[in-house]
């Protein structure tokens, strides 16, 4: 093991927050390239395809942003809880239940003016997601049941509950498949092609819709909450040093619950994108792993909105570009890209500190030399 001791106060912020993640990302991509090579394809070509698929044409780019939207929500969800040192692994289940909230509000209140339905549906998504996170939060704060365990269990419970509802309670009875009826068209969120239609540009279908702006707003919301309000301050205090928080009269119980509920609510907003924006109905399994990938997004983005945005975008590129690659390169399957994601999580999450000391000490020495020279 290396024993490099770095004086943290001397490390410039851009080294720890930009250079180190970039190095980790590059390593992950190099190893991925190796896999592509072993699979018998040209890694350079694959990169070209990824870039083309996600940026090369407007519809592809719209897809990239659509994926980015979902990753922003789930990434933020994980980050908020993490500031209170809670590992909310339950984004998946909270998003699922959040979707139920969107649907119930939208279908039952569709007689109201459209913008109000949207607002209420967003509220419903947040509320349902938060409620699903509340139970593990309560168990953690009052009974000491670890949220990692309970939120994982709650993902399974959410999944079973939704299957039950979709099969027996809210299924579209004209169909055999486990999904609900469609929402009335007038309350769908405007899609990207509708916007460009107004501007006179005609493009083909993409799932990108108005929710993207909600995601951007959420980034601001989280930044403001965590660093500019006393709630965020208290959450962070509990997360960093619970003893000290108690000394200052800050209740750990209350803050665990607040942090988890906001976290769950943000995950729930994924339902707005998927249901009000894209499919307009609840389909079984619609969160499709976004909740889990959000953990990687948050880790890569160092739990800060400014980091989560590019991290979510990167995963958006991988999702969209990846599907382009699997389409063009028969040797590369969809699962290959799951492996690539895994490598990114491995290098930027689990192995985050692998090269950090070396990189930081390198820069500290170089900068010192400049100062002395």
């Amino acid at each position: 093991m290396s024993n490099i001791v770095v004086d943290k106060s001397k490390v410039p912020w851009w080294v720890s927050n930009v250079i180190v993640p970039l190095v980790n990302l590059t390593l992950a991509l190099l190893v991925s390239g190796l896999f592509v090579f072993i699979a018998g394809e040209n890694p350079i070509e694959a990169v070209k395809l990824i870039i083309y698929g996600s940026f090369g044409y407007i519809q592809g780019f719209a897809y990239t942003l659509y994926y980015t939207t979902n990753f922003i929500f789930t990434g933020l969800a994980f980050a908020v809880a993490f500031h209170c040192r809670l590992f909310n692994i339950g984004g998946e289940g909270q998003a699922y239940i959040g979707g139920l909230g969107v649907f119930l509000v939208a279908i039952n209140l569709s007689f109201l003016p459209v913008p109000i339905v949207w607002l209420l549906a967003i509220f419903g998504a947040f509320l349902f997601g938060a409620a699903w996170a509340y139970i593990p939060a309560y168990l953690q704060s009052k009974r000491g049941s670890h949220v990692v365990i309970t939120t994982i269990m709650f993902n399974f419970i959410a999944s079973s509950l939704m299957i039950f509802l979709l099969v027996d309670v809210i299924r579209d009875t004209n169909q055999m498949a486990p999904h609900t009826v469609k929402l009335p068209e007038e309350i769908w969120l405007p899609s990207f092609e509708a916007f460009s239609g107004i501007l006179g540009i005609k493009i083909r279908y993409s799932p990108l819709n108005l929710t993207f702006l909600l995601a951007i707003a959420s980034l601001f919301f989280v930044w403001f909450l965590v660093w500019k309000t006393k709630w965020g301050y208290e959450m962070r205090a509990v997360g960093h040093n619970t003893q000290a928080a108690i000394y200052a009269g800050i209740s750990p119980h209350k803050n665990i619950i607040i942090a988890m509920c906001i976290s769950g609510g943000l995950a729930g907003l994924l339902g707005v994108n998927e249901i009000l924006g894209v499919s307009h109905k609840i389909q079984a399994g619609f969160p499709a792993g976004y909740g889990f990938t959000g953990i990687a997004v948050a880790l890569m983005g160092r739990n800060h909105p400014i980091g989560i945005l590019p991290a979510a975008f990167l995963f958006g590129i991988l999702y969209q570009g990846g599907s382009e690659v699997t389409f063009e390169m028969p040797n590369i399957t969809r699962y290959m890209f799951v492996a690539v994601q895994g490598l990114i999580i491995l290098f930027s999450g689990a192995l985050e500190n692998l090269f950090r000391p070396q990189i930081e000490s390198f820069f500290v020495r170089r900068l010192n030399r400049e100062v002395n020279a």
């Binding site: 500019k228 006393k230 003893q243 000394y247 200052a248």
Partner: protein, 506 residues
């Protein structure tokens, strides 16, 4: 003459700039109970950790039975027949007694013969020394006294000839102490050598045949126990170091504003740590609590500041009951009522190391105006305030945006102090205000506390530094074993008197 079983020559040990042991010489004779006594931080535990191989001395030699040995790890010490029972037991809670004792010395991969053999050996040992332990009991089911016996048994099983006990009675009830002493005496009779580290004079007089006194990292005397007295030992232990006298005006005592009635408090392990304490503090007065660490001061301060639950009794502020066993005000409500608290352990409690300095400067007051309005932090105000107080308290470096853990201990303490004093509290609870703080900052901190007193605050000061208590307090109480064992006006009181009280003698 027979060479001593353990001989230390010129042992030096320092941690960073702090020299914990200075040229220590010590001879321990076989078959004796040898006491090592001294105040907190005198270097007793460090010295014994060196003997047990936990630390390596910077210089000096260790001889066992006249033969020089090199102790690099506890394993070396165990091989050389040295066993140690720590203050905090090193036992696996969900293992049985037997499993704990053989841990690391199993001798076989699949338990069978050797385990059986170990069990038989241990049963014999238990009988010899009258231990009365069920080897198949799970540690978590045992009381503290029994756990200690398991530790002793463990050392004996591993062939200890010299047994070091670090403050063994700190966690025991009086009955358990009697039992322990019986065991120790029977060990001595069987020819084992025992080193007893303690700050309690009674135990020394009761149990040991020889005693060594340490003070501030130095060995200040060796004597046969029968040739000395408690008074003499207390004087050696406390010493007559130079006092940091603070200029203090004549006391202008106001009315009683803080009152504690028959207070009892338990710690996290459900042990009663504060026993039936009564005290009163007037405005304009500093009441000092002297005492060796672990005699209930921590729990008392925590209960008074609303962090710890009151077991029985009550606390009054301005004649209004603020806490009893049924309900208590949380620290924030107490702050609003004018009670501030500088906690003993700044890293664990007083600060958040990962926060920036300005965030710690408002910690606990963050939801008050002008620092925040309707839940939104007012960064402009906070920054202005931070710049101002950091200058006023001479916090170095003077940068509110620096992460707090990068400040030195003294400057961290100044951050806490400025925060707690800034609101001009009516009652101030202060624990170990100058622990690990450099001399310059000590004077500064002392002056601030005196200023607060002159402004009419009622101050409760708990410190293990006797000098600090003597130079700041108007009145002194001494805590021992959770009880107040003495109260003195700080006029003609001597170190020795206090030393005796602190050691539970007078």
């Amino acid at each position: 003459m027979v060479s001593p079983i353990l001989e230390l020559t010129d042992i030096n040990k320092s941690f960073g700039h702090v020299q914990a042991n200075k040229k220590i010489n010590l001879k321990i004779n076989k078959g004796t109970i040898h006491g090592i006594i001294g105040e907190n931080g005198a270097g007793k535990s460090t010295l014994m950790s060196i003997v047990f191989g936990l630390y390596q001395a910077n210089s000096g030699s260790i001889k066992i039975n006249g033969k020089e040995i090199n102790l690099r790890s506890p394993r070396d010490s165990i091989i050389n027949g040295i066993g140690m029972v720590h203050q905090h037991f090193m036992l696996v809670e969900n293992f049985t007694v037997l499993e704990n004792i053989i841990l690391g010395f199993e001798g076989e991969t699949v338990f069978g013969e050797k385990l059986q053999k170990a069990k038989e050996d241990l049963e014999k040992l238990c009988k010899t020394y009258n231990f009365n332990i069920d080897l198949d009991a799970t540690i978590s089911d045992l009381s503290v006294g029994f756990r200690q016996r398991v530790e002793i048994l463990k050392s004996l099983y591993r062939g200890a000839e010299i047994l070091i006990l670090d403050e063994p009675t700190g966690v025991l009830t009086p009955q358990e102490v009697d039992e322990l002493f019986k065991i120790l005496r029977s060990l001595k009779d069987e020819g084992k050598t025992i080193v007893l580290i303690t700050h309690k004079l009674i135990e020394i007089m009761d149990l040991t045949s020889e005693v060594s006194v340490m003070r501030q990292g130095e060995m200040v005397g060796h004597t046969k126990t029968e040739d000395t007295s408690k008074e003499q030992l207390a004087e050696m232990m406390v010493g007559r170091s130079v006092l940091l006298r603070v200029d203090k005006k004549e006391i202008k005592k106001g009315e009683t504003i803080f009152k504690v009635n028959n207070l009892s408090v338990k710690d996290d392990l459900d042990v009663t740590r504060v026993k039936d304490v009564n005290l009163e503090i007037c405005s304009g007065e500093i009441l000092g609590i002297a005492g060796v660490t672990g005699n209930g001061q921590t729990e008392l301060l925590e209960a008074l500041s609303g962090i710890r639950k009151v077991e029985s009794g009550s606390i009054e502020l301005f004649g209004e009951k603020i806490s009893d066993q049924n309900n208590f005000l949380n620290p924030r409500m107490l702050k609003e009522k004018g009670l501030a608290h500088v906690p003993e352990d700044r890293q664990r409690m007083g600060l958040i190391g990962d926060f920036k300095a300005y965030e710690n400067l408002i910690f606990g007051y963050h939801d008050q105006e002008p620092y925040s309005k309707s839940a939104i932090l007012n960064n402009k105000e906070i920054t202005e305030y931070s710049n101002k107080v950091m200058q006023e308290y001479d916090v170095r470096p003077n940068s509110p945006n620096l992460i707090t853990s990068n400040f030195s201990g003294g400057n961290q303490q100044k951050i806490i102090l400025s925060r707690e004093l800034n609101e001009n509290p009516k009652v101030l609870l202060v624990g170990q205000p100058t622990r690990g703080v450099d001399i310059g900052a000590i004077e500064f901190i002392h002056q601030r506390l005196i200023d607060m007193r002159d402004k009419g605050a009622a101050i409760l000061l708990a410190s293990v530094e006797l000098d600090e208590i003597l130079s700041l307090s108007d009145r002194i109480i001494v805590m021992f074993d959770g009880k107040i064992v003495g109260e003195k006006e700080n006029k003609n009181v001597t170190d020795r008197e206090l030393g005796l009280l602190m050691a539970g003698v007078a």
